[in-house]
Symmetry: C2
Subunit: 205 residues, 2 copies
DNA sequence: TTTCAATCGTTCCAAATTTCACAATTGAAA
DNA sequence: TTTCAATTGTGAAATTTGGAACGATTGAAA
């Protein structure tokens, strides 16, 4: 199947999350209109997104929750599980390490790396904190795909370089700074301040 | 001036952050090409974004860092400071409360609210944790604009309702669930899992 | 002084995305 | 059985976004 644009992928992941919620409430049928009400997106857009995959809806009825979820997951994730590592086990890094949301889902945090002697060797929520030097070895052994940056921004670029060197192909950067990486490596920046201020601009009259 | 699309606003906030970094390094002149190299965006797009505001660049020279930063900030933030509150001072909420990045910038976290008796009354990084019931009063008194949701997703909708009732006009939701609010209230969802998985999909061959 | 290379700002065009309109399907109700 | 309303899936139109091209400007070098 052709590669989908990131925007659609992100929305489809939202549909999957929403379908999981509906399943928990034992709602076994759902229409694009209902998904639209929950997610705040338009029903046409949702149907168009879904139509990128095989036909799974029935007119007048809607979608079977389980089937739609499975279809979307199959195309997007192909039963692969995402193995994450994190650099920096400080305030934010520890919060992420303690986050239970990953454990039942398609994401697993497999190792943490920190520069502070005081933290190395500790476990947080079953995940060990290693010295940074062991990153290449552990990332290869645990087949980690993506690394999270949660170190001070002054260390950001050097850590990014080391992540690339260690074989990661994707980086999620929580530090408020830009990093430079080879083209083969994808970066997502999550700057809370920018998000907050962007919303602030929106609500200013 | 006409209201800019969110995408442009977000990029301009990134330019502002970048310009601050350049100023710290005493780089008082910068070209769109250099900004492009740092941010990973195209120079044309950057010039176009900037041209939404008054002319401030000089051909052959580039932009004066200070002037460009001031121009962008004036249009976007008009010297207003964003006052934030947070609901939920657990793992993630505490990390955000401890985040020093806000203090020297245009964002100030003014209060936290939590349902746990054990946490109420404590201070984190100079910010007091209040019982949820005091939110309407404190939000009004402190002129808070935006509220952060950092409570378990089961409490998410009720907390959102209460935030709206308390007079907030913007919500940043870190819980992995959708919320329903009146049209006048803007919501930004930050679901880490979706971000991680979306990147994962991108890097899968 | 003249030429030149760097850079901005803008116009025009292409690509991507969203919305609109509607045919097709389907189970239920008349 | 026929009609009907709800819903999917999709082609076409509209809108938004990004990129290419290029003239205008400017300081520096010849
Ligand atoms: N705390 C938040 O809520 C928050 C919010 C938004 C962004 N951020 C960003 O996330 C990053 C981390 O924030 P924090 O509050 O957790 O900071 P922190 O100081 O609490 O933690 C930083 C951790 O990184 C470790 N570290 C330093 N250099 C390292 C290196 N070279 N390799 C590996 N580990 C290293 C430190 O030992 C420390 O444990 C910062 O860039 C911050 O701007 C944090
Ligand atoms: N920890 C993370 O890194 C992380 C990452 C992504 C998303 N999240 C999401 O952020 C939210 C918080 O995560 P966490 O790890 O901090 O959880 P947590 O359990 O550590 O903290 C939740 C806090 O919310 C408080 N709370 C509960 N009900 C409340 C209410 N009605 N009003 C006010 N406060 C209330 C609790 O007392 C607790 O202090 C969750 O929805 C989680 O899914 C967390």
């Amino acid at each position: 199947m052709k590669k989908l644009p990131r925007k659609i992928i992100t929305r489809v992941l939202l549909y999957i999350r929403t379908l999981e919620g509906l399943l928990k409430e034992k709602r076994y049928l759902v229409s694009s209109k209902q998904l639209a009400d929950i997610t705040g997106l338009s029903d046409v857009k949702i149907r168009k997104d879904i139509s990128n995959f095989k036909k799974v809806g029935r007119p007048r009825i809607g979608y079977k929750t389980v089937d739609l979820k499975r279809t979307l997951e199959n195309y997007l994730l192909q039963n692969n599980k995402l193995h994450l590592v994190i650099f920096g086990a400080g305030n934010l890094g520890s919060a992420i390490l303690k986050y239970p949301g990953f454990h039942r889902s398609k994401v697993k945090l497999v190792a943490a790396f920190d520069a502070s002697k005081a933290k190395i060797g500790k476990m947080i929520n079953g995940v060990r904190i290693y010295p940074v030097e062991r990153a290449p070895e552990i990332i290869k052994r645990r087949h980690a795909d993506i690394g999270i940056i949660a170190v001070p921004k002054e260390r950001c670029q050097e850590v990014a370089d080391y992540m690339v060197l260690s074989g990661l192909h994707g980086i999620v950067n929580f530090a408020p700074c830009s990093i430079s990486v080879p083209a083969k490596v994808q970066v997502r920046n999550m700057d809370f301040t920018i998000e907050f201020l962007s919303l602030f601009c929106d609500i200013q009259k």
